[in-house]
């Protein structure tokens, strides 16, 4: 099943003009995200996704590209998480809408599911939590997170939003048809561009189906100084959490500053979870041949 799904995924992307690429798994930089820990190896780090290397290719004029590769995230071991997992990541030129339409076609093709519903983060959050994720005061969100079982107090606004969304919204997503959650709050933008029509939201989306978060994608941020600013924000959060800082990848930032990242949209899909969805598995273990991280 895994082999058939991956073959279909590859065929789907290839038929749409994507070129398959390979980029290094081992590199000198750890992931800059506040909640990702890279695995150290051979004096460097294993990538947590091929994002930065693929964006360097895009800046060099590659055009649409995809990659299906192992990625590694230290400490992520559980029913739906493995330290070593398979990621499919692809980028197409142009704004997000084309990517979302294609994602919907892909899910239908691979999983035989009905067309996805698109919901904004805000409408889902409002309905399930009863607070506006874009305008509610930090204190209100903090109190809500605490009342729904957040251990201690959430560190900041993103932490409160993430907790409430995962606790109250996610369990109800993608049960009848896949749900594509769009327009994440700006504090959760990661490397997505801020929406043109609303500075409070970012052009980030996630795909949910069968109780699984399957994919996460962006209308990609292009602006080099804004990249530096966001990396600095992540590093401050890492410092608050007692984690080592992650040096930004200067080659990536140079590529953005020199050639520039073309307007493009990209998404990462969890291949192991895709296989789970296809076979109706409830644990990653059921679809991974040899689990070597002690997970269950």
């Amino acid at each position: 099943m895994r082999s058939r799904l991956v073959a279909r995924l590859r065929a789907f992307l290839t038929a749409r003009g994507y070129q398959e690429v390979e980029t290094p798994i081992l590199g000198p930089h750890a992931a800059p995200d506040r909640h990702l820990e890279s695995v150290s190896a051979a004096g460097g780090f294993l990538h947590t996704s091929p994002e930065f290397a693929m964006k360097r290719l895009l800046a060099a004029g590659s055009g649409p590209i995809f990659q299906i590769v192992k990625a590694f995230r230290a400490g992520e071991t559980g029913r739906l998480h493995a330290v070593e997992f398979t990621i499919a990541e692809w980028y197409r030129l142009g704004p997000l809408d084309g990517l979302l339409t294609e994602m919907d076609l892909l899910l239908g093709d691979l999983l035989g599911v009905p067309p996805a519903e698109r919901r904004t983060y805000r409408e889902l959050f409002l309905a399930a939590v009863g607070a506006d994720p874009l305008s509610a005061a930090d204190d209100r969100l903090r109190t809500l997170a605490e009342s729904h079982g957040h251990p201690g107090s959430p560190d900041d606004r993103p932490a409160a939003l993430d907790f409430l969304f995962s606790r109250l919204v996610e369990p109800n997503l993608g049960s009848r048809v896949p749900t594509i959650v769009t327009r994440f709050p700006a504090p959760l933008a990661a490397l997505a561009r801020i929406s043109d029509d609303d500075p409070r939201t970012a052009e980030r989306f996630e795909v949910f189906w069968a109780g699984l978060e399957l994919a996460n994608g962006y209308d990609e941020l292009q602006d080099p100084p804004e990249h530096r600013r966001r990396f600095a924000v992540e590093n401050r959060a890492r410092a608050r959490g007692g984690r080592p800082p992650a040096e930004p990848d200067e080659r990536f930032l140079d590529a953005l500053a020199d050639a520039g990242l073309p307007r493009c949209s990209g998404v990462a899909l969890g291949v192991d979870r895709l296989v789970m969805a296809a076979v109706g598995a409830s644990r990653l273990d059921e679809v991974i041949a040899f689990r070597e991280d002690g997970g269950s």
Binding site: H35, G78, D162, S166, A190
Partner: protein
């Protein structure tokens, strides 16, 4: 008596501690062996920990990490003192103190009315249990019976009688001959003082098998 290592009997770490060897590899990331704590990445069902200052057993653990958000570990656990099952969420990397809880077996010796006395068949050490630890199961206890015992800080926390016990009837109304098929029942007093509902054909001095979980008659046992 030497204080028990609370990790004893709880997987590989406990085994190493119990036999007194130094682990060949370092302890799992985040663990603090000397302080007897468990980090969330060591959580497993069956682990005994202190939560809300009570000894608890983990029933279910799940690693949760939304999107690019913070990682949490959600657990379902039973408070061993109250029996209540509760849910709790931890930030990944948080630590909880291990509870010095040990599940073992002991032989019931006698009751003096206020306390029930048990003996560890290996060390011959005696332990006394109060009524709260019996949870109503005192009525099944017969001298010499082997019971499951949960020790907490080397004192009896809970007594678990065998699921099935064989006890003799000391008092019941006379049996009704021939009525072995219909569903009638009557009370019978057993040698431990327990009173149970039994079929009408049961006689004094017969030995019965009882299910201690339901408190119900199961069958006659041939003497």
């Amino acid at each position: 008596m030497a204080r028990r290592d609370p990790r004893r009997g709880q997987g590989a770490d406990g085994l190493r501690a119990a036999v007194g060897t130094i682990p060949a590899t370092h302890t799992p990331e985040g663990s603090d062996f000397l302080a007897n704590t468990y980090a969330t990445n060591e959580f497993r069902s069956g682990l005994k920990v202190l939560l809300d200052s009570d000894p608890c057993v983990l029933l279910d653990c799940e690693f949760v990490k939304p999107g690019k958000g913070q990682a949490f570990t959600r657990i379902r656990y039973r408070n061993l003192k109250t029996g209540r099952v509760l849910d709790k969420t931890f930030k990944s990397g948080e630590k909880v103190e291990a509870a010095d809880v040990l599940d073992t077996e002991m032989e019931f010796l006698y009751s003096d009315g206020g306390e029930w006395h048990f003996m560890d068949p290996n060390s011959y050490e005696q332990y006394a249990a109060g009524r709260a630890s019996l949870g109503g199961h005192e009525k099944w206890l017969l001298q010499g019976m082997t019971c499951g015992v949960t020790l907490y800080n080397d004192a009896i926390l809970l007594i678990h009688p065998p699921h099935f016990v064989d006890l003799k009837v000391v008092e019941t109304e006379p049996g009704i001959r021939g009525d072995t098929a219909t569903g009638g029942s009557k009370n019978a007093t057993l040698e431990t003082g327990a009173v149970v509902r039994v079929p009408l054909f049961i006689e004094v001095d017969e030995t019965l098998r009882l299910d201690t979980r339901t408190g119900e008659y199961v069958s006659r046992v041939k003497n």
